[in-house]
Amino acid sequence: MAHPIRVLVAKPGLDGHDRGAKVIARALRDAGMEVIYTGLRQTPEMIVNAALQEDVQVIGLSILSGAHNAIVPRVLELLREKDMMDVKVIVGGIVPDEDAAALKKEGVAAVFQPGASLDAIVTFIRGAVPESNVQS
């Protein structure tokens, strides 16, 4: 039997707006994934360490404060340093189109902006994590 997809939902920076992160965590769980929620105020180092410890295939970063351009590239850099580039990074929150395009160029798998449907996020993750990565 295939193991469920494991996702780390993380809140980096000082932003305390956790409504979206919590809704997404529940929705992914309802869709059969294993979800680890970091809680608030995580540094990029804490997030990447948690991803390593928890052996996740996906990191979901929720940022609504406008700090994404400083925080997300640092997470990607740490993943490269630790040779964890197979972990998909997706970002949700208030990210303008230009910034979203730039983040994707740097290696973010997807950016979900306000109004994105839960179903679209679930579908994306299922498509992005290849079967071979799901240990059985």
Binding site: S65, H68, G115
Partner: protein, 523 residues
């Protein structure tokens, strides 16, 4: 779908009957206990609400320019938005401030920044609200010090400090210290205010953020009022008499999209509070029993898609606040699903209030919807449902044990998930998002780059060279000793601020005594 099968509910999920036609009992007039119909007999005929746009971005210099602009446009009060490092008690050069300086509000690291923020603004004449919570006493001390410099007697100062730490643990999550030392700091400000600033509201007990976190209208109301009772309990334990401080407790509610549900919420709020003050706390002062509130339209209702529709949403929400008898109002700008508002967008938001005030005719008579079959029933039901929650929290031993048990947090998370599911299934329609989609033209946005962080950090280094560092150290030590004991901390914070100790230094001193708070995440 046939109407017989379709469920009609408010946005919070309260079922709506096909028709309301039960006779409505006569209500006490506006200005009469329990003030369901409003706290003044003449309401807006006597004085319009204060138009108070929440504003702040980048550096204190840039925010000061925006304040002068808003006052020139006819805004009648100021409301300061601080950035996340300031809200969390970190200076701009702290490692946790990376990428956050000036993004969500103005960066204020020391008295020097507060002086710049209010440069050319006479604090004796303009009322100022400050959205600051965990480090509220520090920012308030800076404000009081600027008033001193302007030669304005503190007794003339009028305004509001948000200073509502309980809703931070429940919803907004900008906390530093654990609940009990935080409540002690809040009680210090309430006590200090009662002695020194008789026209200043030391606290604005806030449901706004609870609602934005996804609560229902009833949860917003119940948790906010129960928070209010917790502050009253602490002030009474401090030895104060209820009518010495309760007249200066103020409230802050959301103005969400379900028009009648919101108006019912404000009316029920006044009634519950008036009864609680009289019967639970034995207040004999009318001023303690009258619930005064600020309202802000719902940020979480604004859509990224078709942003111009947000002007219409905001107008309807503002109308509910005015029909509900708000004392002051913030209207959101159309671009706020994207960013802090640009000047053009914020002007439209202010004009929306001016249209309501001067063109709509609504302010001509108090509580114009009073006596409506539907509204009166909804008001009564809202009151009952909120009282149920308040009793549950009483049985848990008050709001702090309830927070520690994760009760309000879990209730809100469940409501928020339920709502999102309804949107997902199309049971709740959001125009332009899950129905009536169409491409929308791009809008111009306010850009805040990383230069604010550099600017603020450079000012901090220069300040630390210039000031009397021995005096700073002495004042911080004295503050720590006071924090370890039971004295009121405000005079010590004032001394530290006047010697230009930074926000981060003062908060670090308090962290060393009180420790910090880490929440258990409740999904």
């Amino acid at each position: 779908m046939k109407t017989a099968e379709r469920q009609f509910t408010t946005i919070s999920g309260v079922p709506i009957d096909p028709l309301y036609d039960q006779p409505v009992a006569a209500l006490p007039a506006p200005g009469e206990f329990p003030y369901t119909r409003g706290i003044h007999r003449d309401m807006y005929r006597g004085k319009l609400w204060t138009m108070r746009q929440f504003s702040g971005f980048a550096t204190p210099e840039e925010t000061n320019r925006r304040y002068h602009y808003l006052l020139a446009q006819g805004q009648t009060g100021l409301s300061v938005a601080f950035d996340l490092p300031t809200l969390m008690g970190y200076d701009a050069d702290h490692v946790m401030s990376l990428g956050e300086v000036g993004k969500c509000g103005a960066s204020v690291c020391s008295l020097e920044d507060m002086e710049i923020l209010f440069h050319g603004i006479p604090l004796g004449d303009v009322t100022v609200s400050m959205t600051i919570n965990s480090p509220a006493s520090v920012l308030w001390a800076m404000y009081l010090a600027v008033a001193e410099q302007q030669g304005v007697d503190w007794t003339r100062l009028s305004g509001t400090l948000q200073n509502d730490i309980l809703k931070e643990y429940i919803a907004q999550k900008e906390y530093i210290f654990p609940p009990r030392p935080s409540m002690r700091l809040v009680t210090d400000t309430i006590e200090f205010g009662a002695r020194h600033t008789p026209k200043f509201n030391p606290i604005s007990i806030s449901g706004y953020h609870i609602r934005e976190a996804g609560s229902t209208a009833v949860q917003e109301l119940a948790f906010t009022l129960r928070d209010g009772m917790e502050y009253v309990d602490w002030a009474l334990q401090r030895g104060m008499a209820v009518d010495d401080f309760a007249p200066r407790l103020s409230f802050f509610f959301n103005a969400h999209s379900d028009f009648f549900e919101e108006i019912a919420k404000y009316r029920a709020a006044r009634k519950i509070w008036a009864l609680a003050m009289r019967d639970r706390y034995g207040s004999r002062s009318e001023r303690s029993q009258k619930l005064r509130f600020h309202a802000q339209t719902a940020g979480c209702s604004l859509t990224w898609q078709q942003p111009y529709n947000n002007v219409v949403r905001t107008a309807l929400q503002a109308m509910a606040a005015v029909l509900g008898g708000a004392q002051s109002l913030h209207t959101n700008s159309l671009d706020e699903a994207y960013a802090l508002p640009g000047e053009h967008a914020v002007t439209i938001a202010l004009r929306t209030q001016q249209v309501l005030a001067y063109e709509s005719g609504i302010p001509n008579t108090p509580d114009p919807l009073g006596g409506s079959y539907f509204l009166e029933k909804l008001t009564a039901d809202t009151e009952d449902a909120a009282n149920d929650y308040i009793r549950r929290i009483d049985r848990m031993g008050g709001m702090i044990p309830a927070i520690e048990a994760g009760f309000p947090q879990t209730e809100i998370a469940a409501a928020s998930y339920r709502y999102q599911r309804e949107v997902e299934e199309g049971e709740r329609v959001i125009v332009g998002v899950n129905r009536f989609q169409s491409p929308d033209p791009p809008i111009e946005l306010l850009q805040i780059d990383e230069s604010s962080g550099h600017h603020q950090s450079a000012k901090l280094s220069a300040l630390k060279q210039r000031r009397d560092n021995q005096k700073v150290r002495k004042n911080l030590d004295a503050l720590m000793r006071a924090a370890e004991g039971t004295e009121n901390t405000m005079p010590y914070i004032l001394d530290a601020v006047r010697s230009y100790a930074t926000l981060g230094e003062i908060c670090d001193s308090l962290r060393s005594v009180f420790g910090t708070y880490q929440e258990t995440a409740h999904l």
